[in-house]
């Protein structure tokens, strides 16, 4: 399986320009970008990403503003790179669906990553009118049973998001032997890449993820770098992963 690595940035954070510049630069190395749309009660996120979301909400920045930035990123990034939206179900629930679908199709948004939508509620979200060409990404976790891993892996579109640890974003990546076995089981049954996310913040953990999975996703580490030293911090962190 070709490796499929992704990075997460919160849309328009810390500001529109830095976000766009970081996204375009990151996409020179990564295969896909996850754009976070801020939600007030992000229960799957740790403090770093939750605080970034709150900063944007306090500035009244949401999907409307971020969608303009995505258009700019699309114009500059290589066309084969993928973009996903990462947010919570209530923002999708409240979207004006026709406009949202048109935007996603025009900008080639590959899918939605919704951490509060498990497999059993995917149909509810689909029934809101999300276009069939926009995938709703499947999660597999160390807690998933073998049966549900096989089912999710077989039916997954785009990629399988393997949540590599119990807990929230920003924790430590350290898969135990049972998790390693479940990653293998997912890989055996999926026709799309099995990508590991949550807790991957260094070159070392990324290398491990690439070895045992089909790729990695990193996010909190970039937000921390943006917080401490803006774009140059992001660039340095990016180089750590790829140079």
């Amino acid at each position: 399986m070709k490796k499929y690595n992704g990075f997460y940035l919160m849309g328009n954070y810390p500001d529109k320009e830095t976000f766009i510049k970081s996204a375009v630069e990151g996409l020179k190395h990564f295969d896909f970008l996850e754009v976070g749309i801020p939600f007030s009660d992000p229960i799957a996120d740790g403090e770093t990403i939750a605080d970034a979301a709150q900063v944007l909400i306090d500035r009244n920045i949401g999907f409307t503003e971020i969608s303009e930035s995505i258009k700019e990123i699309r114009r500059s990034a290589a066309p084969e790179k993928d973009i996903y939206l990462m947010t919570y179900s209530n923002l999708i629930y409240n979207m004006e669906m026709d406009g949202f679908n048109s935007f996603c199709i025009e900008q080639k948004i590959k899918g939605l990553i919704l951490p509060d939508v498990p497999a059993c509620e995917k149909d509810f979200i689909r029934a809101l009118g999300v276009d069939k060409n926009i995938n709703i990404i499947s999660f597999i976790t160390p807690e998933s049973s073998d049966d549900s891993i096989i089912e999710s892996a077989k039916s997954a579109d785009s990629f399988v998001y393997f949540v590599s640890m119990r807990g929230i974003t920003g924790g430590e990546f350290n898969p135990d032997s049972d998790t390693m076995r479940k990653i293998s089981l997912a890989k055996e049954n999926a026709s799309v890449p099995v990508v590991l996310g949550f807790g991957i913040r260094s070159r070392r953990s990324a290398d491990t993820a690439i070895e045992i999975g089909d790729g990695f996703i990193t996010g909190t580490a970039f937000i921390e770098s943006l917080n401490s030293s803006g774009y140059s911090g992001f660039k340095n962190r990016l180089e750590e992963f790829f140079i």
């Binding site: 740790g46 709150q54 209530n90 629930y93 998933s144 119990r166």
Partner: protein, 393 residues
């Protein structure tokens, strides 16, 4: 009573399981364990015995004669304020704490707003030898400080939550984050009829003891059912408990009273069924106070236990299906009722329960000549810091 929710946890279109995939296996385990717990005679005996000998059930049904005379109605109060720890919250905490042991887990976590559920959980943890951590918004730790001290005395770790609005919703977020990490050995002892399936059903069932008793007691006293059953609604657990055995009973009108706060303007109240619209929060599809985009709005109530932007999914269903009617009572009306009950009946009610009473007092014409059952869900000792400030005692 058990017809809802369906097997996916939906009450009509409300409910569900909008949580991280990581928690699905745990929720399935809780659902299965709860189902066998209900059939396990020994467990049920233990629960009944604790409810009687430890919690002090059945609680009395009290006919408030002086208040009835003043309002021109016949008012009965289900005295949940007399349950050990001072509110109805113990009914559910005892049930879920026993379930925690039954599942072989060693730690409970809980969210709390007014602190009543935190105290009830800490109490049960002490009783059954469980480790306990309670998440409480920083604002609430300050306005309900007596309860923070009680929880600590009972051996619980109280973790103040500094994110978001630093109230009940943020305490739930913090507890859910903790649970995603610790679900292997920890049970999240949710205190209201909110959250992902099976919690709204389970908490309702544990609280339904309120109306199981009240229905017989009322009948014994009056030879008939009440015309109105009234309860305050934050997340909605005490209302779910007192509505449970009256749902669909001819001639009984169910009234849920939401916190009307300072005004009906956004951010000034916590009245989601009156002023909100459906959304998805804390694991369920339900009514919510939210912005156009879907971010959760700041809410307000003088009562910490009602200061919550969403409501249990079953209440959303009741609201749309017309099973119950949901009205509001302002901060001022609730404070007035707080004083009124203290002076007229010698009962200091919780500020939460004062909302149910406040609606009754403000709308006495509606209840003229009627028989009313009011759920006095808690006692007001914990509210003294707020009362000192608001009523200038």
């Amino acid at each position: 009573m058990t017809a809802m929710p369906d097997n996916k946890g939906y009450f009509g279109k409300f409910g569900g399981r909008f949580v991280a995939e990581t928690l699905i296996k745990t929720l399935n385990e809780v659902e299965e364990a709860y189902s066998s717990f209900l059939k396990d005679e020994e467990q049920q005996r233990k629960l009944s015995k604790l409810l009687a000998d430890y919690a002090g059930r059945p609680t009395p049904l009290y006919h408030a004669e002086r208040l009835s005379e003043k309002l021109g109605a016949s008012i009965y109060m289900k005295r949940e304020d007399l349950v050990h720890t001072g509110s109805h919250k113990l009914n559910n905490a005892l049930g879920q704490a026993l379930l925690t042991k039954y599942m072989g887990k060693t730690r409970v976590i809980a969210e709390t707003g007014a602190g009543q559920h935190g105290v009830a959980t800490a109490t049960c943890a002490a009783l059954l030898g469980l480790e306990c951590e309670v998440f409480m918004g920083r604002v609430d730790t300050e306005r309900q400080s007596p309860n923070v001290k009680r929880m600590k005395l009972l051996g619980a770790k109280v973790t103040p939550v500094d994110s978001g609005s630093r109230t009940l919703k943020d305490a739930i977020n913090a507890a859910m984050r903790d649970w995603t990490k610790t679900c292997q050995d920890t049970h999240y002892l949710i205190g209201s009829v909110v959250g992902a399936h099976p919690f709204p059903m389970m908490v309702r069932d544990f609280q339904s003891v309120i109306s199981r008793e009240a229905k017989n007691q009322f009948f014994d006293a009056e030879g008939t059912n009440p015309d109105y059953v009234v309860a305050c609604v934050g997340g909605g657990s005490n209302a779910a408990g007192i509505f449970a055995h009256y749902k669909g009973v001819d001639g009984v009108k169910l009234l849920g009273v939401e916190a009307g706060g300072r005004s009906s303007k956004d951010g000034d109240h916590s009245a989601k069924l009156n002023y909100g619209r459906p959304g998805i929060i804390h694991g369920n599809h339900t009514y919510l106070l939210q912005t156009k985009e879907g971010n959760v709005m700041p809410v307000h109530s003088v009562s910490a236990g009602l200061d919550y932007p969403a409501v249990g999914a079953e209440h959303s269903y009741f609201h749309e299906a017309g099973v119950a009617e949901y009205v509001t009572c302002s901060d001022k009306e609730a404070l007035n009722a707080f004083r009124e009950l203290s002076l007229t009946e010698g009962i200091i009610p919780a500020l939460e329960s004062s909302h149910a009473l406040g609606y009754l007092i403000e709308n006495k014409d509606r209840f003229a000549g009627k028989k009313v059952l009011l759920n006095l869900s808690g006692r007001g000792d914990k509210d003294m810091p707020i009362i000192e400030e608001e009523l200038g005692l």
